[in-house]
């Protein structure tokens, strides 16, 4: 331990014995430590130099004694000064690192991430997580004709949970998929349950998009999804949603799309009636007896439940669901 004070190992050991066994001679210490007496003497010279003596103030050529009552604290003082300087240096380094990190953050806008899911089990687990957390809408392409029983089972289970929470589901299959009895039965079930299902002659890729913020595409080209890329970069996800909408617009409903089965609550219906009447936010707030801010928050909630981004889309969706 005393090495930190600048004493070498031998001097430290000699010093410990010297103060703990004050009656021992140099020969006793040498025997105890199994070293030669001259080595003990060298250690004593080291201890004497170490200071135990200090240059006197104003007389650097002279040495002064240190009060024994101060003990090792006098020796520690020098070490503490060095430690304080090291701490100050670390603090300066930390400040500089924080400054650089701040500059880096300011110049690097986050662009989302790409997560490679190589394992089918992990892929399934992540899909289940995202589906469990989705709030507004799930979009998906299922290309490749007939779907396997496993895929259909997973789709059905996910759809049941989402539809029960009022989440909108839009799924596109290829027209040829309807030649498969199991896939056709699945689309029938989905439509009856409240999902929107359409058919397109061809689909560009397997795709799932959750709430327009996370997208899953195959890691390799092909209709299957044994490994996937989970994307959250807004630019990429927006492009994939646009691709979906373009294909969706040209696809045919597998059946006449049934109105969404989520029933509106009285507040939603009241807000929709206000929207149909063309009331402003201020006028609505007066009618409702709440602040304009509260009215806007209620409207935002309505838009979210309808999966709409503006009044027009909200009106369209409300009409489609038979709320008007």
């Amino acid at each position: 331990m005393l090495e930190v004070l600048g004493l070498d190992a031998r001097a430290s050991r000699v010093y410990e014995v010297m103060v703990s066994q004050p009656e021992w001679t140099v020969a006793d210490i040498a025997a105890h430590l199994a070293v030669a007496p001259d080595e003990v003497r060298d250690a004593l010279d080291t201890l004497a130099r170490k200071s135990l003596l200090r240059p006197a103030e104003g007389h650097p050529e002279r040495l002064r004694a240190i009060n024994p009552a101060i003990g090792l604290s006098a020796l520690l003082a020098g070490q503490e000064a060095e430690l304080a300087e090291q701490r100050a240096q670390i603090a300066r380094t930390r400040q500089e690192a924080a400054r650089l990190a701040s500059r880096w953050t300011a110049t690097h806008v986050p662009h989302g991430s790409v997560e490679l899911l190589e394992d089918e089990v992990e892929l399934r687990r992540r899909q289940e997580e995202l589906t469990a957390r989705v709030r507004l809408e799930v979009l998906s392409f299922l290309p490749g004709g007939a779907q396997s029983a496993d895929v259909l089972a997973v789709e059905r289970e996910a759809a049941e949970g989402c539809l029960a929470r009022g989440v909108r589901i839009r799924e596109a299959f290829t027209t040829s998929a309807m030649n498969d009895a199991a896939t056709s039965a699945h689309t029938d079930w989905m439509a009856r349950a409240g999902a929107e299902v359409r058919l397109a002659p061809a689909l560009p890729t397997r795709l799932v998009v959750w709430d327009s913020h996370t997208a899953l595409v195959p890691a390799e080209p092909g209709p299957g999804l044994r490994a996937g890329l989970l994307l959250t970069a807004p630019g990429i996800v927006t492009a994939l949603v646009a691709l979906f909408e373009a294909v969706w617009a040209g696809a045919e409903p597998v059946h006449e799309e049934a109105p969404h089965d989520r029933s509106a609550d009285p507040q939603d219906l009241q807000l929709v009636r206000f929207l149909r009447s063309g009331l402003t936010d201020e006028a609505m707030s007066r009618q409702l007896g709440v602040s304009v801010r509260t009215t806007r928050r209620m409207l935002a909630g309505l838009y979210a439940r309808l999966g709409a981004r503006c009044r027009f889309e909200a009106g369209y969706e409300a009409a489609r669901r038979g709320w008007l």
């Binding site: 005393l2 103060v19 001679t25 140099v26 201890l47 003596l53 024994p68």
Partner: protein, 105 residues
């Protein structure tokens, strides 16, 4: 062993010690006073500063033995005329064993 600071001074204007520190340290250890185990001296401009390592029943006795050796050397004029003992006191090395890790005396 106890460590005792000693400070020997030469008369003003004599220019410091005439003999080496090792030779003087050797004279300390060969003096006929029991218990002086080792002496480490450093020459300074007007004398010697150093530490004597002394075995004695107590620290105060170690100081007395060291002082006896110093006064004997001064009286013998081996260092020269006018030398004097400026200081002979316990040194900081005499800390309690309690200061040391794993020691509780």
């Amino acid at each position: 062993m106890h460590s005792i600071l000693i400070r020997l001074r030469s008369p003003a204007g004599t220019g410091g010690p005439a003999q080496g520190a090792d030779a003087l340290a050797n004279r300390f250890m060969t003096a006929s006073v029991p218990g002086v185990e080792h002496v480490s001296l450093q020459p300074v401009t007007d004398g010697f500063d150093g530490i004597a390592f002394v075995v004695a029943p107590s620290l105060s006795q170690a100081v007395r033995r060291t002082r006896t050796v110093c006064e004997t050397l001064l009286a013998s004029r081996e260092l020269g005329d006018g030398w004097w003992l400026e200081s002979c006191q316990a040194d900081v090395l005499n800390v309690s064993g309690l200061w040391l890790p794993g020691r509780a005396r």
